[in-house]
């Protein structure tokens, strides 16, 4: 029997339930089958007109619809689905009574165009001003839109539905949000505040304005045809990320509590680390120091050395900048091993699930540990000689994997990494 505490004397944090939704499908089984088959979930957007857009493809979750449609409602529904799957697997608590707090990674929220247009049309006068909109906004007719477009609305819903305890936390660390949600859960369990935490990350925000905003920052791939070929992490001809939707939920527990209730342990969150980059709003410090520091902090937190990591689930967005900086950071820490260690980017298949990515990819990392098989980086036909990673090109690979590092880097200088292991270290 393993000691319930790690080498630092902290409670060991394990994963006992996982749920996932991506453009590839709902659930671990479907996603794993398609990820290891090298399938892409990226397709030409059909949810709204794509006329005039520079990027016309995305990893939309088209098999889930919400009525009335909004990105926030879809975001919430995806979180519901992933959480139901995770709780079913964990078998913890009882229905609607989860014995711990909620940490939710979610995109920032605002009123969306369909609702804005609905209210505008209700004014009915063509030279409308703000005062005209204000005059008809009150009285309860649009009360549901207040609730829908509050930042805390998705967390409030999940907390009520799943009966999490205390004040639910909604957070955003941009593209690192999913990892931060897991980190907050790990910290709460290590502090001994709780035996369990529900960590959810969700993003359903492929809508015209969101696509255009990223497009105006030149962050998105414009290789629209074929859409499945657009996301090319680590390739020389990569030209940006592909927006995508998805959700991931992890049930975290202290090892002691999980063992005590006879739960199946799916893996261990051995370490978490984060370090802010104060160089620029969207670009990494050219010396890579914040990424290097983030990776090193994570290793220190796990009490591990680079030699013990045998797979990296990369952030790998396929933007020219990210992939270059990720190689710089990894190679500085891992030295020559950076060229040997398998480094794969799930985003080649599922796109960038933004706020959800850190959790979605942590779950794929745990599935990698479970199946001892590494999903490929697809669309890897023109290697970038400046990034000599072993990217597990195009075909899944069986491998002995005991510890995975999963990286997430985001706008605003957000860097977060996780180390996931099969067994307590």
């Amino acid at each position: 029997m393993t000691a319930p505490r790690d080498t630092f004397g902290r409670p060991i944090v394990v994963v006992t339930g996982m749920g996932i939704v991506t453009s590839l499908g709902a659930g671990k089984s479907d996603n794993w089958k398609k990820l290891t088959a090298g399938e892409s979930g990226i397709r030409t957007v059909t949810r709204f007109p794509i006329d005039g857009l520079r990027s016309t493809m995305a990893g939309t979750v088209d098999f889930v619809t919400v009525d009335p449609p909004s990105s926030t409602a879809l975001t919430e529904r995806l979180a519901d689905m992933a959480t139901e799957e995770a709780l079913e697997q964990a078998g913890i608590g009882s229905r609607g009574d989860f014995p711990g707090p909620l940490f939710l990674a979610v995109a920032p929220v605002e009123v969306e165009w369909p609702q804005r247009i609905e209210v505008g049309l209700a004014v009915g006068k063509s030279d409308l001003g703000v005062e005209d909109v204000l005059r008809i906004s009150g009285g309860g007719k649009y009360a549901a839109y207040h609730h829908r477009f509050m930042f805390g609305s998705v967390a409030g819903h999940l907390a009520e539905k799943f009966g999490t305890k205390g004040s639910p936390i909604s957070l955003s660390t941009a593209c690192a949000s999913g990892a931060t949600a897991i980190q907050l859960g790990v910290e709460a369990i290590r502090r001994g505040e709780t035996d369990a935490a529900l960590c959810v990350a969700t993003d359903g925000s492929v809508n015209p304005e969101a696509v255009i905003r990223f497009s105006l920052l030149s962050a998105l791939s414009t290789q629209n045809i074929p859409p499945q070929g657009a996301s090319k992490p680590f390739s020389k001809n990569r030209d940006g990320f592909v927006m995508a939707e998805g959700a991931g939920t992890l049930v975290l527990e202290s090892y002691q509590a999980a063992v005590a209730r006879g739960a199946t342990i799916l893996g261990v969150v051995a370490g978490c680390g984060e370090l802010t980059d104060s160089f620029h709003r969207t670009r990494s410090s050219p010396d890579g120091k914040p990424i290097i520091g983030c990776v090193n902090k994570t290793l220190v937190d796990a009490g591990m050395t680079p030699e013990q990591i045998d797979h990296i689930n990369a952030h790998g967005t396929a933007t020219p900048e990210n992939d270059k900086m990720e190689y710089l950071g990894i190679s500085a820490v891992f030295g020559e091993r950076a060229k040997q260690i398998p480094v794969s980017s799930n985003k080649s298949m599922i796109g960038h699930t933004i706020s959800a990515a850190g959790a979605v990819e942590a779950i794929i990392s745990l599935l990698t540990l479970e199946h001892q098989r590494i999903p490929p980086t697809i669309n890897y036909d023109v290697p970038d000689p400046a990034i000599p990673f072993d990217v597990v090109p195009n075909k899944a690979r069986d491998a002995r994997v005991t510890a995975v590092m999963s990286n997430s880097f985001g706008f605003g200088g957000q860097n977060a990494s996780l180390i996931l292991t099969r067994e307590p270290v």
Binding site: P49, F149, R213
Partner: protein, 394 residues
Amino acid sequence: MTAPKEAWITGIGIISSLGEGLDAHWDALNARRINIDEKRFAPYMVHPLAPVSFDAQIPKKGDQRQMEAWQRIGTYAAGLALDSAGLKGNQEILGRMDMIVAAGGGERDVPVDLAILQAYIKGNAGPAFLNERLMNDLRPTLFLAQLSNLLAGNIAIVHGVSGTSRTFMGEEAASIDAARIALARIESGQSDIALIGAAHNGERTDLLILYEFGDFNLKDKFEPVWARDQRGGFALGSAGVFLVLESREHAEARGAKPYARLSKVVADLAQRKQPGAVTKSLDRLWSKLGVADNGALITGATGVEPVTSEEKAFLREHPGTAVRGTGTSFGHTLETQFPLGVALAALSISKGALFPPNDPTGLEVELSRQPSQIVVMGVGHWQGEGMALVEAIK
């Protein structure tokens, strides 16, 4: 488990409709000053940000241009807090300082939105219209100026706070949780020093519309927060408040002077469909604080009904407590209201006096003695509630 570490408030930065800095705020509160603009957005009203020269804390114009007003307000207040803690430019500490910001989002480009709506109303909007207009009319940098986590990003860039950076969202509760998590991390040794806070620009028509959907805006005539019984509602306010929180050991080792100790932060999410749920939740939270000196309480009460009545029901259970509602003097500043309350509590503890009541209804009473503990309360206008205990250092 080792005993929790003590956490001290060693830095306070505050700008609001009442001015800038601790002295200006202490004077304004003692003069019972209220800065309310009832004309600009009539029939709605707002507590506008007092004039401020952003250059003083955000020296590069290029940085200022990259920010929306709420980010400038917050980055400015964060700079004041670091100054107040004696940490400005201390790269060794700033480089490992943890940051938790409570944030909403930035202002939309309202003229762009209105022009698009006008075309829809005229029937001139084909399927490609929205894409075309947004592609042409949205400023590329506006996205970053609106993005929630970019307040923290700007604080990192401008002031060099670059240990860790987390942004919590979710209106009023976000900043209660920011304080709660920062305190828990310091108490447990997961963190030595943290910058926490929030910023709000209340002078935004897009926010007026959003809150008008829920009938939350105060209209026609300004009333102090406890005197809004029938109509209910809040007047939005502009403010930025940041606090430096650090372990006692860390503060003592660098010779920092504390304002007060932050001893407890507790929070919950009452299911408000049930009448009385918020009052009950506040009762439970109060019992977790371990209040010994039932003397003073600063609340961010919104004035919105029915939740303000539930707050009043809770307050009636604590007769004799000197209550101060920040909503009267500052308006409602959403995420910023709770750190504002903590800042004013710490300031009052350090001054050895609570600022005077500003309330014609008599709910707020004088406190003639020196408070040793002040409870800070935050109840969200639609969800979430929490409390903090701020104490004099022993």
